[in-house]
Symmetry: C2
Subunit: 402 residues, 2 copies
């Protein structure tokens, strides 16, 4: 007997049939003797439809009224899911974000959870009820509806698991777990049984969007054990926890990110504070920087190359031209690149991981444009056109037996 | 400068264009210097669509979850209406039932308002904001969503007008006011400028469904001045208040009710307590009785005839056969009848009103099956087939100049 938090996304409850399927998963968990709290998103396209309705009336509507509108989406889905569970004969109660005690700040549209007051949830669980909570929403000190920012319902689920000291937080998705590479693109991938928070964070950052980073960060902070699993296929998923068994693996997997751009500034004056000025200006414009590489250029100048998201490339170039055009530096961007990475805490204790990766790329005839490493990742920038081949080649080098 | 409460039904806000029109009416009132609180229902068919969605999943869902689902409907409409008002450049805030302070009992699906805590509404009005309140909903002592029973959003509007001591409560409908008869069916009808609460109640009861009775009763109790007017046609409506000018009219109008059935029990034993037993049993089954007529039958038996709603006719016959079949009484029902009534406080001080009505029916060759009177109404039961002709004939007798 345990306390399990389960989270289902919008596509898992898109229609009556899927709502009934999800209700089946929940009641099965409940009937094994577990306490169950569930977080659910708005059904299918509900949120998009509501945004369209709002835009038809006023494309510049206040975020406060937008949140009032959007939070109705999860309200409908919790009620419908509760009705489905009633049909299966289990005691259940649906709760809105505020009823579940989600107190947020007043940043409408991207609110942060300040605290959770779990009394009501606890009381309903004590009555042996399944508790269904509206994801992605809370209430602020003005008693107004808010929606959470990035991470949305995943974050709601982890927050509840933390507040209730749940034994596990199961995130149901359309994949059966976390794989050593994207199974739709690469042959011979393996589903991981376990993975650490840090590895999961790298996976998400590096473009394998299974779990939202904010929710993984929160799970790490409160030591909430996550499980990523499928709502369609009944099999154990991937557990995310602080210490995970490596099972003779050197790395956890290979990922790629094609939403990346490389920006170069060539011929800057070599004076102190230049890098500080550049990156604080970029950060002020909301541009997040990933890999940075600085080298000495000709004639006492220096060159800086960095990567950012493709969406920010144009803005970054503008900012930099503003800064450096006067001193004759040349700013250029390259958006036809991809980042391919290997992730795994295991590589720390093994030499030769990097050379194995580079060797595989060399054999495949793929040119490396830039390299960066962290404690648990090695990333290379390559031509976007080579990305899928690169992932396959590297994956084969590290997981040859599959 | 006044405090005006305005109420708009679901069809008035069914699409973006109509929402903008309603926003125009509201901001026009506001720009004249008035404080404005607005009650709005769910858009168009939203409520029906949600009920259908629920039925697809669980036709026997609990009322608690049904209310959780349905209250999302008004939540969406208040947000969209607020966005429309923002677009027109006026300060506005949308409030859910509980945010507006609607405290109800725990009867899900048919909750009664226990009290209104108007602090939030008052504070927003003091900030010169237009306040948009979700109709038809409140919150109970368990902090759960409830929907109000009969009357719905009309009742919400009157309750707010009472709580805020509003100068007037305007109920916007698809007609321009209350008429002496149904203008779609009868020639020469006149729109009433004023009408009393009691007359309005009789109008509603007698089948002219402009305002819900519960809201009129509440308006009477708290002396809230109502105005029934159109959201499509810009002209003064009908004022409903305690004392209304009669303007040389003998009666206010003629109404018909075709949702009525006549039930007869012929040949009951003439013993004391029989009528009590009959009507307490019917009442226990939730069957409301309207007109009652008792007469002496043959051989020391007695006959009782009464009317109830058509929907209850079958159940009433069952109950009565259970009671009286053993003693040989015969139960019969007639559902092809209609009730035609005249309403008006003026008739109390005039003799000859009844004979004028009966004379008009006689001249039209319409047979009267039953008669009943109250202080401000005279009703006759006739064949359903004669109903429209009867209303026209009676209307012409009392309003000959039109």
């Amino acid at each position: 007997m345990a306390l399990i938090v389960q989270k289902f996304g919008g596509s898992s409850v898109a229609n009556a049939e899927r709502v009934m399927r999800v209700a089946g998963i929940i009641t099965e968990t409940y009937k094994k003797g577990n306490d169950v709290a569930v977080v659910v998103s708005a059904q299918g396209d509900t949120t998009d439809d509501l945004i369209e309705k709002a835009n038809e009336i006023n494309p510049n509507a206040s975020r406060r009224e937008m949140d009032m509108l959007l939070t109705a989406g999860e309200q409908m889905s919790v009620a419908l899911l509760a009705m489905a569970i009633e049909k299966l004969g289990c005691p259940v109660v649906s709760l809105l974000g505020w009823q579940a005690g989600f107190i947020t700040d007043t940043t409408y549209g991207a609110a942060r959870i300040k605290r959770i007051e779990p009394d009501r949830m606890r009381a309903e669980l004590d009555k042996k009820k399944i508790v269904i909570v509206a994801g992605f929403q809370g209430i602020n000190r003005l008693d107004d509806m808010t929606t959470l920012g990035r991470g949305g319902s995943d974050t709601s689920a982890v927050a509840i698991a933390a507040a209730l000291h749940a034994d596990r937080c199961q995130i149901f998705t359309d994949v059966t777990g976390v794989f050593t590479a994207d199974p739709r693109k690469v042959d011979g991938t393996v589903k991981l049984n376990e993975i650490t928070y840090d590895e999961m964070l790298e996976f998400a950052t590096l473009g394998a969007q299974v779990l939202n980073n904010r929710s993984v960060e929160m799970a790490k902070k409160y030591n909430v054990e996550l499980e990523v699993l499928s709502s369609m296929v009944k099999e154990p998923g991937t557990i995310v926890r602080e210490v995970a068994k490596m099972e003779k693996m050197l790395i956890r997997g290979v990922t790629k990110d094609t939403q990346v751009a490389r920006i170069s500034v060539v011929g800057m004056k070599d004076v102190p504070g230049n890098a500080f000025k550049m990156f604080s200006r970029l950060s002020g414009k909301g541009i997040n920087i990933d890999v940075i590489l600085q080298s000495v250029g000709r004639d006492g100048t220096k060159d800086i190359t960095f990567t950012c998201s493709k969406a920010n490339a144009e803005k970054a170039v503008e900012v930099l031209e503003d800064l450096y055009a006067a001193e004759g530096a040349v700013v250029s961007s390259d958006t036809s690149i991809a980042k391919v990475s290997i992730v795994g805490a295991g590589m720390q204790s093994h030499s030769g991981t990097a050379s194995k990766m580079f060797g595989a790329l060399y054999e495949a005839g793929i040119n490396i444009k830039m390299i960066s490493t962290s404690e648990i990742t090695i990333s290379v920038l390559i031509d976007a056109a080579d990305a899928d081949r690169a992932v396959s080649a590297v994956h084969k080098a590290f997981f040859p037996e599959n």
